[in-house]
C-alpha cells in the first residue's frame, strides 16, 4: 500500500516536472484519445486498430509507432540513374539531341511516378505508417521540386534520406540534406562559389529549415552564403571543390571564424531558436494550429536535452496531455495525400496507387512538386471552394469507380490521361462483409456504420437523418442494399464537412 502510494507520488512529480504547467493531469487514453493519436500519426485507423491501441495503452502504442519509424530497413525501391551521357549526344544534330533528351525525360519521369506510386502504397498499407507520415512532413520541410530538379534518382534519393532519418537525428538530416544532390540543385547551392555567392540556400536554411524569420540578419545570410560555397554535383557524386570554396573569415550570428559548411550548420543548431522552430513545425503538423504553447515548449526542450534526436521529442509530443486537448480534436484538415491514403486504408479496396497520387494532385497536393520552397501551407488553406469540390468528387471516384468522363476539366496529369484512354477503374469487392450486411437492417444503421467507419467527427443527428432519407427506398424488407447503393451513400458521407477533418 505504502509502496504504491510512493510510486504514484513519484510519477506525479515526474509528470509535474515534465510539463510543470497546465497539463499536470495525465492523459485519459480512452477510445476517443486512441483514435485521435492514430488519426494524426497513421493513415485512417480502422476500428480494430483503435481497439488494439486502447488495449495496449498510451505508452505501448506510442512505442509501437516509433519503433516502426526508427526501424532500419533496406530500401525496397530499386532506382537507377536515367541521364543522357554527353558522349551519347556527340555528333548528333540539334533535332536528334532534343529528341533523345525528351525521350530520356519521359523515362526519367516514369521512374519518379513509379516511386511515387510505391510511396503511396506504403502510406495506405505499409507496416510503419508513422514513418511515412514523418517522411511526408519532412518532404514539406526540406522540400525540393521535380520541376527544378529534373532528375528522378536525385529526388528519390532525397526522399530515402528523409525516410532514413525521419525519426533519427535532426542534426544528421540537416547535414545530409545540405549536401544532398537534389537540394543543392533545387536551392542553387551547387552554383554558390567563392567570390560569386548565390544566397538562395543560405537564406532558406535559416528562414525555413532551422531558425524562422526574424532570427538572423541580412548580413548573416551574406556571410552564411560564403560558408556554403564550393559544393558541386557530378552524376550521383557530391563533392567539395576547394577552388570554389571561400575559406576566408566570416561572421555568422556573432561567431567569427573561418566557418565552413559543417561549422555553419553547427552554429545554427546551437541556437535556442532552432529547437523552438523545429518543435513548432512538428507540433503544427501533428497537433494543429491551436495547440497550447506549452506543447511546443516541451518538444523543444526534449530536442535540446536529447541533442537533436527526434524519437524522444516525438514521444514527448504524442504522450503530452496538451496533444490530447479537447479543442485540438477534430480540428485538423487532412492534406490531400492523407485524405486519399486514409480513405483507401479504410475501404480496403485495391485502388491503383497512381490513381491516388493523381487524385491528391487534383485536390492540390502533388508529391515532389510543392507550390514553393515552404512546402505545403496546410491547415485551413487546404480548403477553398475549388479544392473542396475536388476532394468530394475524387473521394467519390475512389470509392465508387472512375469513369473517363469524370476526368475532364482541369489538370494535365499524365496518369489521368492514360486512365481516360484505358477505360475505367471500379472496385472489385463489396465494401461490407456478409456479416456486416446481415447486421445492417435499417437505413439509419447503414448511415451510422459508414459514419463510424470513415469519419473521426460524427455528424449531427439531423445530418444523418437526411442521408438516411436518401437511401430509405433502397431498403426492401430490412435487407442491406446492393454494394453500388452502399458506395453511393458513402460518397455522400465523404462529401460531408466532417470527412475533411480529423
Amino acid at each position: 500500500m505504502h509502496r504504491t502510494f510512493t510510486l504514484v507520488l513519484a510519477s506525479c512529480f515526474a509528470l509535474l516536472s515534465l510539463s510543470n504547467t497546465l497539463f499536470a493531469q495525465a492523459v485519459v487514453f480512452d477510445a476517443a484519445a486512441a483514435r485521435h493519436l492514430l488519426a494524426r500519426t497513421t493513415f485512417g485507423p480502422s476500428a480494430a486498430e483503435v481497439e488494439a491501441a486502447v488495449a495496449a495503452g498510451l505508452n505501448a502504442s506510442v512505442d509501437k509507432l516509433l519503433a516502426g519509424a526508427t526501424a532500419r530497413k533496406p530500401r525496397s525501391f530499386e532506382v537507377k540513374p536515367i541521364r543522357v551521357e554527353r558522349a551519347a549526344l556527340r555528333g548528333l544534330s540539334e533535332e536528334e539531341r532534343q529528341k533523345k533528351q525528351n525521350e530520356n525525360r519521359r523515362e526519367d519521369l516514369q521512374q519518379l511516378r513509379s516511386f511515387t506510386a510505391w510511396w503511396m502504397e506504403v502510406m495506405v498499407g505499409g507496416d510503419a505508417p508513422l514513418r511515412e507520415k514523418l517522411v511526408l512532413f519532412w518532404h514539406g520541410h526540406f522540400t525540393s521540386s521535380m520541376r527544378d530538379v529534373r532528375d528522378s534518382k536525385r529526388m528519390i534519393d532525397q526522399n530515402e534520406l528523409l525516410r532514413e532519418e525521419c525519426a533519427g537525428s535532426f542534426r544528421r538530416m540537416l547535414k545530409a540534406i545540405t549536401v544532398d544532390a537534389a537540394m543543392l540543385e533545387y536551392l542553387d547551392n551547387d552554383e554558390n562559389r567563392a567570390g560569386k555567392p548565390n544566397e538562395n540556400y543560405a537564406r532558406e536554411v535559416m528562414e525555413l529549415f532551422t531558425l524562422g524569420v526574424g532570427n538572423y540578419t541580412e548580413k548573416d545570410i551574406a556571410e552564411a552564403a560564403r560558408a556554403l560555397t564550393g559544393w558541386r554535383v557530378r552524376g550521383d557524386e557530391v563533392y567539395l571543390d576547394r577552388r570554389q570554396q571561400d575559406r576566408g573569415e566570416k561572421t555568422v550570428l556573432g561567431v567569427t571564424a573561418r566557418i565552413d559548411t559543417d561549422e555553419l550548420l553547427e552554429i545554427l543548431l546551437a541556437r535556442p531558436e532552432a529547437t523552438r522552430w523545429v518543435a513548432a513545425r512538428l507540433v503544427r503538423f501533428f497537433a494543429g494550429e491551436n495547440a497550447a504553447p506549452e506543447l511546443a515548449a516541451s518538444v523543444a526542450a526534449a530536442l535540446r536535452e536529447n541533442d537533436w534526436q527526434l524519437a524522444p521529442a516525438l514521444r514527448v509530443l504524442f504522450t503530452h496531455p496538451g496533444f490530447y486537448a479537447r479543442e485540438l480534436r477534430g480540428q485538423r484538415v487532412l492534406s490531400p495525400v492523407e485524405l486519399v491514403a486514409s480513405l483507401t486504408h479504410r475501404t480496403g479496396d485495391v485502388v491503383p496507387p497512381f490513381l491516388l497520387v493523381a487524385a491528391a494532385s487534383r485536390m492540390g497536393q502533388t508529391l515532389f512538386d510543392p507550390p514553393d520552397v515552404r512546402g505545403w501551407g496546410g491547415g485551413a488553406d487546404w480548403i477553398n471552394s475549388a479544392s473542396l469540390l475536388e476532394r468530394q468528387n475524387w473521394c467519390g471516384h475512389l470509392v465508387g469507380g472512375v469513369n473517363p468522363r469524370d476526368l475532364k476539366g482541369g489538370g494535365d496529369d499524365r496518369a489521368l490521361r492514360e486512365l481516360a484512354r484505358s477505360g475505367n477503374w471500379t472496385p472489385k469487392k463489396p465494401l461490407l462483409t456478409q456479416e456486416e450486411q446481415a447486421g445492417i437492417t435499417t437505413e439509419r444503421a447503414l448511415v451510422d456504420h459508414l459514419c463510424r467507419r470513415f469519419l473521426e467527427v460524427q455528424p449531427l443527428e439531423a445530418v444523418r437523418a437526411t442521408l438516411a432519407e436518401r437511401v430509405k427506398a433502397e431498403f426492401v424488407g430490412g435487407r442491406c442494399p446492393a454494394d453500388k447503393v452502399v458506395r453511393g451513400l458513402l460518397k455522400l458521407v465523404l462529401s460531408l464537412p466532417e470527412a475533411q477533418i480529423h
Binding site: E191, R203, G330, S385, Q392, G409
Partner: protein, 399 residues
C-alpha cells in the same frame, strides 16, 4: 443576385423568341446595361520579378556594368523612351503605354525592405509592415468595409489554387477555382440536394468550428460553380488569346465579367520569377505569359467592359542589381508595378532609382507601394483609403 436573375430571364426570353444561341453582341450590351460594377483584377508575380530587366534602363552604363551577362541592350528591348525599354517578351506593352492605358510604376517598394519571399509578400498583402500579424489582407479589408452587405459568394474570386493572404478577411470568404470545367460537384441531382439539405442544418453548437467553416465553403462552392459553369459556357472570346496558364485564367475572368458577375475583386497568380539562375530564359518565359494582358484588354474593349476594369500587376520585390555567379539574380528590394485599364493615367510614375546609390546592393525604393494602393481604393472604388491601408502622404496620380 438580381443581376443574374435578369440575365437568366432575358436569356430565357431570347430562347422563347426563337433566337436560339444568343448572339455575342447582345450579350455584350446586356452585361453592360445590367450595370456591371467596377472591378479590380490583381495579378501577382510570385518569386520576385526582376524589375531592372522588365523595364530596362539600357542607357545607364552602371546597368551594363552590373549585368555583363544578363543586361539587355537597347535593341533587345521594346521602346518606351530614350532611357528605358520594356522586356522584349512584353510585346503588347508599348502600344498600351503609347495609348495611355498602361501606367508603369518605377522604383516601387517600401522602407526597410525584407528579402524573404514570404515576409515581403505578406507586407504587400497586408499593406502593413507587420505582415500576417496585421490579421487581414488589404483587399479583404477593402471588401469588408466597402461592401459590408454583399451576399454573393463571388464578391472576391481567386482564379488559381492558392488563395493569397491579401484577400483574407472575416466577412467575405473568396471563391477559388483553377479550371472552370473541373469546378462542380459531380454526382446525381438528388444526391446534391440531400447534401445541400444536410449542409443547411442550423443546429451547429456541438460541431467543431472547423465543420462550420467547411460547410460554408461548400454552400458557396455549389452556388458559385453553377454560375461559373454558365458564364464559361456562354463565353467565346472575341480576341485571339495566347495559349498559356495565365491566359486561360484571364479568359475565365473575362467570361465572368461578361456574364455580369457581382465580383469586385479578381485575383490571379503567375509564378516562376525566382530567377537565381538561368534568368534570361526563365524570366522571358514568365513575361511572355504576362503579355496575355494585351489580349485581355483587347477583349474587354471589344465588349465595352474596359472602363469597368482595372488591372494591378505587382511582385513581392525586385532583384539584386548585380547578377550572381549563376546567370541569375538574388533577392532584391525595389521593383516595378503596372496598372492597366482605360481609366488609367498612363505613362511613367514614380522615378527610376539610382543605380549608384544602392542599399546593400539593391535599388532604393522611390515609391511606396501604398501610394499605388491608395488611388485604387479612393478613385477606383470611391472609398476612404486610410482605414484600409493607413494614411498615405502622396497618392500616385494614376487614375
Amino acid at each position: 443576385m438580381l443581376r443574374r436573375h435578369f440575365l437568366g430571364t432575358t436569356a430565357l426570353g431570347a430562347a422563347l423568341l426563337g433566337l436560339g444561341r444568343i448572339p455575342e453582341g447582345l450579350l455584350v450590351s446586356r452585361a453592360q446595361r445590367s450595370g456591371v460594377e467596377r472591378a479590380l483584377v490583381v495579378v501577382q508575380l510570385s518569386g520576385g520579378n526582376d524589375g531592372l530587366n522588365t523595364v530596362v534602363p539600357f542607357a545607364d552604363d552602371l546597368y551594363h556594368a552590373a549585368r555583363p551577362r544578363l543586361g539587355s541592350k537597347q535593341a533587345d528591348t521594346l521602346a518606351l523612351n530614350e532611357h528605358l525599354g520594356f522586356h522584349k517578351a512584353l510585346k503588347s506593352f508599348p502600344a498600351l503605354h503609347a495609348s495611355g492605358q498602361l501606367a508603369t510604376i518605377l522604383g516601387i517598394g517600401y522602407a526597410n525592405p525584407v528579402r524573404s519571399h514570404f515576409s515581403s509578400m505578406d507586407i504587400w498583402h497586408a499593406a502593413d509592415a507587420r505582415g500576417k500579424l496585421a490579421g487581414s489582407g488589404w483587399l479583404g479589408r477593402l471588401a469588408e468595409t466597402g461592401f459590408p452587405d454583399a451576399k454573393e459568394p463571388e464578391l472576391i474570386v481567386h482564379v488559381g489554387n492558392r488563395v493569397p493572404f491579401a484577400l483574407s478577411n472575416k466577412k467575405h470568404a473568396p471563391v477559388a477555382f483553377a479550371a472552370p470545367a473541373g469546378f462542380r460537384w459531380r454526382g446525381g441531382k438528388e444526391d446534391l440536394a440531400a447534401l445541400e439539405k444536410a449542409s443547411a442544418s442550423e443546429c451547429m453548437e456541438d460541431a467543431p468550428t472547423s465543420v462550420g467553416h467547411v460547410r460554408g465553403t461548400f454552400r458557396d462552392a455549389v452556388k458559385a460553380s453553377r454560375n461559373v459553369e454558365n458564364a464559361v459556357r456562354e463565353f467565346k472570346p472575341a480576341t485571339p488569346f495566347p495559349e498559356n496558364g495565365l491566359s486561360a485564367h484571364l479568359q475565365s475572368v473575362a467570361a465572368m465579367l461578361t456574364a455580369g458577375f457581382p465580383t469586385r475583386i479578381y485575383s490571379l497568380e503567375l509564378g516562376g520569377f525566382d530567377t537565381h539562375n538561368q534568368q534570361l530564359t526563365r524570366q522571358a518565359r514568365c513575361l511572355d505569359e504576362l503579355d496575355a494582358l494585351g489580349a485581355f484588354q483587347a477583349e474587354l474593349k471589344a465588349r465595352k467592359l474596359d472602363d469597368k476594369v482595372l488591372v494591378l500587376v505587382y511582385s513581392e520585390f525586385g532583384r539584386r542589381v548585380a547578377e550572381n555567379g549563376s546567370q541569375g539574380t538574388d533577392h532584391g528590394a525595389a521593383g516595378v508595378a503596372f496598372l492597366l485599364g482605360s481609366k488609367v493615367k498612363g505613362g511613367l510614375h514614380g522615378s527610376m532609382p539610382s543605380l549608384k546609390d544602392l542599399e546593400r546592393g539593391d535599388l532604393r525604393f522611390t515609391t511606396d507601394f501604398r501610394t499605388l494602393y491608395a488611388p485604387i481604393i479612393a478613385q477606383w472604388f470611391g472609398m476612404q483609403a486610410a482605414p484600409i491601408i493607413g494614411e498615405v502622404a502622396e497618392p500616385l496620380a494614376v487614375l
